[in-house]
Amino acid sequence: MTTQLPPGIKLETVDDRIMTLNVGPQHPGSGHMRLIIKVDGDYIVSCDPDPGYVHRGEEKMAEYRNYIQNVPHLERPVIHDSSNILYPYCLAVEELLGIEVPERAKYIRVIAAELNRCIYILYWLAIYGIFLGHSTMFMWPAGDRELFIDLLEAMSGARVTHAYLVPGGVRNDLPANFEERCLRQVDYLEKRLKEYLAVFYKNPILISRTEGTGILSRTDAIRLGTTGSVLRASGVNFDIRKKEPYDVYENLDFETVVMKEGDSYARSYVPYLEMFESCRIIRDAIRKMPKSGSVRTKLKPNPKGGNDEVYKRVESGRGALGYYIVSNNRPEPYRVKISVGSFRNLICMPYLLKGELLGNMPAVYWSLNYWPVEADR
């Protein structure tokens, strides 16, 4: 029986050897995203990532709310990194409305952003562990993450959706004895992170699964426009906190983590090393922070932006995260465009997975530091 197809539509002809697999969108390992993978035996012939299952129209929603009301819903794409996704929004709106931020608020923001970066990386690492069948590495970071969640809960009042950074500073001052408690828990986390080495990063089973898989060369990393830890794992020294310092990052003492290998192991090791740098930043910021002073500039109700446009970006847990905001003399923005690291790193998938074993797919996929909800927005 032959069915007449409408003109212009052809059925895809596939080799008998090739089988098409749908990884996701409901699979717990893929996140809310589908990978259309064609396999020849155990080897991947081609991979076509298909995002868009959790698109929530954040950018359109932002056009109907004023600059303060946008704060709670704009952090929803990555609730585990909610301070970092709000950071560029606050920087952009401050430039648009001409708001000065108090010095102490800048330091508190940096502390919140770095604590949140650690929370995100630990969560990501927990999932990377369970992707590779390492359940200890799922339990340990998920438990240690609780230390920093408690700190941010004391700071902001919420466990994950903090809504702590606002245009003009932060919502409230630090609670009493926060600095002391923060330093104690940061020290403890550093001690715990060193234990991850023997269990996970120096574990021969992990090394055999990740070393040499999904190699992204330095030129390819630049050509494909990757960002964040993927770019740094391929040997490019690029960190927005160093190259375009925002707020007080230029006063703080830290280094950019760079690795040359560009394989899955390097891509998973760079965020781990970045947590040590984050701990360094937190310690330095607490030391250099002004001990008292205002933390929030009072805005007039329903502030209006001029006829202007502005683009600001920061280094989030997944790479460069930028906001492009256009305003037209109204209390609401005319257009908000969010550019995120997750989506930009997704383009590597077809390149990295070609010729890989199907079993190595999770090792490559999650090493890209991909967050499906953020990519769709």
């Binding site: 230390l147 009042g157 609670p175 009072k298």
Partner: protein, 165 residues
Amino acid sequence: MSTAGGIIRALNSGVKHLAIRRFTLRYPEQKLKFVGDGFQFNPETGVGIAGLRGRHILYHEHCTGCQLCSVACEGIAEAIGMVKVNETWKQNKKAIMPQIDYGKCVFCGLCVDACPFYALYMTNDYELSSFTKSALIYTPAQLAIKPKISQDVEIKIDNRGATHG
């Protein structure tokens, strides 16, 4: 490093944790202690006071029925509605006060930021589950009740690790 050596080292690192006290908070029996009495806001300075953003508390003697909390919630969760109350207050001529639907509330606390009369704060009460959706709608009378809190567990860090006791 040999493969066998690496695996033994990994196992050894895990085995050490048999002697370390458990980190998990046993939640219904133990409850974490929070700073302060919940998130509050000082409208004079425009800066909040750190605390947990839990269920709200409404001070009837301060509320003027100005609806600013309801307006602040409009684009966020639309959880706050103004309802008539059978109370007479000098400052509240219209006799309307906020009623909060916790099925919708996202606990962002922007309504607390919006209140200029020290009437709406948040508390440390976060256990709001109920069997019906209608029980999640808190009337002004329910919001006025101060919650009973028994949260006393703090994280302890020593040489043997971190524990909640």
